[in-house]
């Protein structure tokens, strides 16, 4: 059986992720997405993964959500966000989502992981020291590549959002 915390966080997370996609104003959607990510961090805390939960809050709620909100404010105008979703596409999307939910859910429900004996929550939670050790020994090349990827992505995003080149191009077109 699930406990009350789990039910509360589940309703919060799934509800806000639906609001993120369906809200009229894009800015409310961005805030709902941030709350949904906070809910995921709550799940991580329920799973005794404190470090991942804090990382999630720092990166997603702290950085990604703020970045998205800034972009929404930069791009915001009155009539640009009234893009209509056509009805048939919406029905198709809902059917596809339900088929995915039912199909993958059925596969997991008939698989062995519903057995309470699968995995044991009674074992000690994973220590942060173990995460750090494996990150700095076996996975250290991946960590370095990750740092380079992040640097490349940030430089690339800055180069993309630069203004001068674009203005010159527009002038030459005119």
């Amino acid at each position: 059986m699930v406990d009350a915390y789990f039910v509360g966080i589940a309703i919060l997370t799934i509800g806000t992720s639906i609001v993120a996609l369906e809200s009229k104003e894009l800015i409310y959607g961005a805030i709902a997405l941030a709350i949904s990510m906070l809910g995921i961090a709550g799940f991580f805390l329920l799973l005794d993964a404190q470090f991942v939960a804090m990382f999630q809050i720092t990166v997603y709620v702290g950085a990604v959500a703020v970045l998205v909100i800034f972009t929404v404010m930069l791009v915001r105008t009155q009539d640009l966000f009234s893009t209509k979703d056509d009805k048939g596409r919406k029905v198709g999307g809902i059917i596809l989502a339900l088929v995915t939910l039912g199909g993958v859910g059925a596969i997991f429900l008939v698989s062995g992981i519903t057995n309470p004996m699968f995995g044991n929550l009674d074992s000690d939670p994973i220590d942060i020291k173990e995460i750090g050790k494996s990150m700095l020994t076996y996975y250290s090349p991946a960590l370095i590549v990750l740092g380079l990827t992040l640097a490349g992505a940030v430089i690339g995003a800055l180069a993309l959002a630069r203004r001068e080149g674009l203005l010159k191009e527009n002038e030459s077109i005119n």
Partner: protein
């Protein structure tokens, strides 16, 4: 006590919400939201299995995945701002310059 299957079901639900958003929405920023929701569902699955199988790798991969997702969002939002400047809108159906 929460079982593994409960977390997996929440993860599948978030995944299908993300699939719905990717299929239906035409606004580029909403599609980014959908991708983020799907990435979060995958991370939840990784950490849930890591806890129940008692394996460090799940959490390490989740950390890597979160960092990669942050980089991806930065680039995607840069592209959206550029596209908005060029086309004056963020409806993906209007971005048709590459269409043959």
């Amino acid at each position: 006590m929460n079982q593994l299957i409960d977390f997996v079901i929440i993860s599948i639900a978030l995944f299908s919400i993300g699939i719905y958003g990717l299929v239906v929405k035409r606004n580029a920023i909403r599609m980014i939201f959908s991708i983020e929701i799907i990435a979060n569902a995958a991370n939840l699955n990784l950490v849930a299995f890591s806890r129940h199988v008692h394996n460090v790798e799940g959490q390490v991969f989740a950390l890597f995945s979160i960092a990669i997702a942050a980089a991806e969002v930065a680039v995607a939002l840069g592209i959206i701002i550029i596209a908005y400047r060029l086309y004056k809108q963020i409806d993906v159906h209007e971005f048709r310059s590459l269409k043959g």
